[in-house]
Structure formats: C-alpha cells, structure tokens
Amino acid sequence: MNISYLQLVYLFGTIFCILGIVLCIRTARTRFGKLGDAPPVSLWITRLPAESAAKLTAFAALILMPAGAIFIANYHTFEGVHEVSGCASCHLMLPMANDLQDSNSGTLAARHFKNKWIAENQCYHCHSDYGFGGNLEAKMTGYRHLARYTTHTYKEPLMARVRFDNKNCLNCHQGTQKFEAVPSHHTAWARLVSNQMICLNCHGQAHPTSLQRTPGSPDYARLTEPLE
C-alpha cells in the first residue's frame, strides 16, 4: 500500500498536536511543588513519583510535542511545495500555473509540461531550491514571499529579485549530447555554475511576461482563472 506523505503528515501531525494539547492542559493545571503528597503514577511497567510524572509531562508538552509538531509541519511545508497545486494555492502563482498547462504557450514551463519532459511536480523540478534539499537563499526567499503574500504587501506584477540557480536547469540538461555540443556551454561554464549568466538569456522566457501578469492587461483574466 502506497502511503503518501500527506497521509503521514495528517496522521502524525494530528497525533502530535492533539497529544500536545492534552499534555499542555494537564501541565497548565499542575501545581508543582505541591505534589509531594500525591500518590505515585503508574506508567505501564514502572511507577513514577507524581512530581516526576508531572515534570515529564511538562517536558513532553512544551519540548517534545512542539518539536514533533514543528518537524511535521515544516516537513509538510517543504514537501507541499513539490506539488503544482501547492504553488497554485497562492493566486499570484496562477499565471505561472495556467500558462504551464496551456498547450498554445511557448514558454519554457509550458513546453516542458506539454512534451512531458517533466512528468509531475513541474514547478518544483525547476524551483527545487524551495524544498528540503535546496539552498538557504531560496528558503529565505520562500518565507519572505509567504509573509508578503499573506499580508498583501506585494506589488503586481511580481518581479524576481533573487538570482535563479542554473543548477535547476543543469541537473537535467548537463551532460546531454545537445548540451555538450554547444561550445559556449563549456567556455562560459564558470559563469553558468556561479549563476552570473542565466540560461534563460539564450533559451527564452520561462513564464508569462510581467506585462501579461499586470492586472488590467488583456491576458490577466485568462491567466488568473482558478485551476481545475
């Protein structure tokens, strides 16, 4: 049986949170220092003094369960960004998502989707810095985007500020016959791997232009239709 990450997250996330809440309620009501008279607590195979049990409960409630919940929730974040629907849950990304699936579009994203060069999680394959394995800069950028989006302190059209990591292209294209046949790929290699020169310069736009993504432009309505 194939258990998806989502089911694991739901399961363990709920467990940690509910358990955490229960343990926190207990901890909140515990009068430390006045437990001396309380009878010991039996914990399956052992018996603990009430004071110790209460302290363990507090530890679990305020350290262990939060750690678990934080881990699960962050795992949820970094895995959730893999899916196209995850990215598209922010309406600002709808132009990218809609264009991706538009067979009449000539953008790099659309071409990779149409030709099935990337079978699934198409956004993530080129923006893998957002996931667990990506670089710190991309993560910081991701959280910054989240803060801006949810507080509505963004300006449309969105303009990327951080340099795109060419490794996202090179991971697939490097080493192929077509790639190796181009002399500049070798002579300008240092510039490519250090991201001084972006692959898109020669190979075209990845996504709709900023003009198309500007509210009021002729394409805006079509590009921001909710995904099916």
């Binding site: 739901y10 996330g13 949170c17 926190c24 909140a28 220092g33 919940a69 995850g86 849950s89 989240l146």
Partner: protein, 62 residues
C-alpha cells in the same frame, strides 16, 4: 503554584495553529504557523527551560 500556566496556554494556541495548517494547508495557515506558532512554541519552551534551570539551581544540582 501553577508554574507553567501561560506557557501551556501559549503552547496550546500554537498547537491549534499547527493543527490547522496540517489539516488545511494553504498560504495563510502556513504563514500563521511559520510566523506565529513557531515563535510561540519557542517562547514557551524558553520560559520553561529558564524555570527548569532556576529550579535546578535552587536544588544546587547545577
């Protein structure tokens, strides 16, 4: 005394935010978890550790 009242209440609020994000993922839930729940957990945990440390000192363990 109830030593860990507000720490527990804050942790409960943080758990509720986290649970909401886990069950209903979305940008707003993610933001609330990232920017509110996590600091809440951190503050509660920090205060708890300070109190544990103080308690250990009075008992001359540390």
């Amino acid at each position: 005394m109830r030593l860990l009242r507000w720490e527990s209440w804050c942790a409960i609020i943080a758990f509720l935010m986290t649970l909401a994000f886990v069950l209903f993922p979305g940008p707003y839930e993610m933001a609330i978890f990232t920017f509110l729940a996590q600091p809440l957990f951190a503050i509660a945990a920090a205060s708890y550790l300070v109190k544990v440390f103080a308690d250990l000192r009075t008992r001359k363990v540390v």
